[in-house]
Symmetry: C2
Subunit: 157 residues, 2 copies
């Protein structure tokens, strides 16, 4: 197995091609990790989310880490890590950014937004409310593992 | 989409059936997330790892979060989060635990251990050394989303 470092351009291209990642935040030295769907554009990761522990924690400590991977086998994988900062997009200060986030996410996740809207409708707006946020990416690192042919054939993982 | 909380037993059963997770650690309020292969047994998550940022950070702050999921679509998924503490298994204090970890991991990841051993051989023991560690699980929480039939058919993710 060979493990190669990816450069900034390769990391960004990988983020642009992905839609699912694991978001890490932390509070008082306790980390917390959740899966999120996102859209990457330029220096930002855009997310539509419900309020909960992760948004509470990111409000208190905006330092985050997004891990995005594609794991085929234990010797054939890509893993990119983006460190960044949480930024909420409330109205009216961020109306333009919200609209941009809505358009980007809507293109990829239209039915999911519909499902969320239906849930809100069923449960009442007070119990489930959604928000848009984005992560400003400060740095990325990435590793790509390329297995030996013999390992690649042995698909276990 | 219906989202149900999983009880302790369901969370543990899910961890036992899984082998890949995302480990979150943090240092000075900066989170860090990496994919890991593991074996769960009773209250522990056993891992064979190389030394690096995650082991440095977990030595400094043993509080960790392991997220394990199975995401079929955006409305059909399971996500379990285990909070716990990092514990290294050095010799000679933990010889029995090391042997137990080696046996557990060896059953599932034999070829990977071989690959790691080969890498060590090629590069010399100084450049890549592996270690066994385990995470003592303090608490688990889990969510299971079950999409509406119409959503389940529309496999977009």
């Amino acid at each position: 197995m060979m493990i190669n470092e990816m450069n900034q351009e390769e990391c960004r291209a990988f983020l642009a091609s992905a839609s699912l990642g694991r978001l890490g935040c932390s509070l008082d030295n306790q980390p917390y990790v959740v899966p999120i769907y996102f859209v990457y554009e330029l220096d930002y990761i855009y997310v539509l989310s419900t309020f909960g522990q992760k948004t509470d924690w990111m409000r208190a400590n905006p330092q985050v880490c997004l891990e995005v991977d594609e794991i085929t086998t234990q010797s054939q994988w890509v893993s990119v890590i983006a460190n960044g900062r949480y930024q909420e997009l409330p109205e009216p200060q961020f109306t333009a950014e919200r609209e941009h986030a809505r358009a980007l996410l809507g293109k990829r996740y239209r039915w999911w937004q519909n499902a969320l809207a239906e849930r809100e409708l069923r449960l009442g707006n007070d119990s489930i409310t959604s928000l848009f946020f984005r992560l400003h990416i400060d740095s990325t690192t990435g590793l790509r593992a390329i297995g030996e042919p013999a390992e690649r054939d042995e698909k276990r993982g």
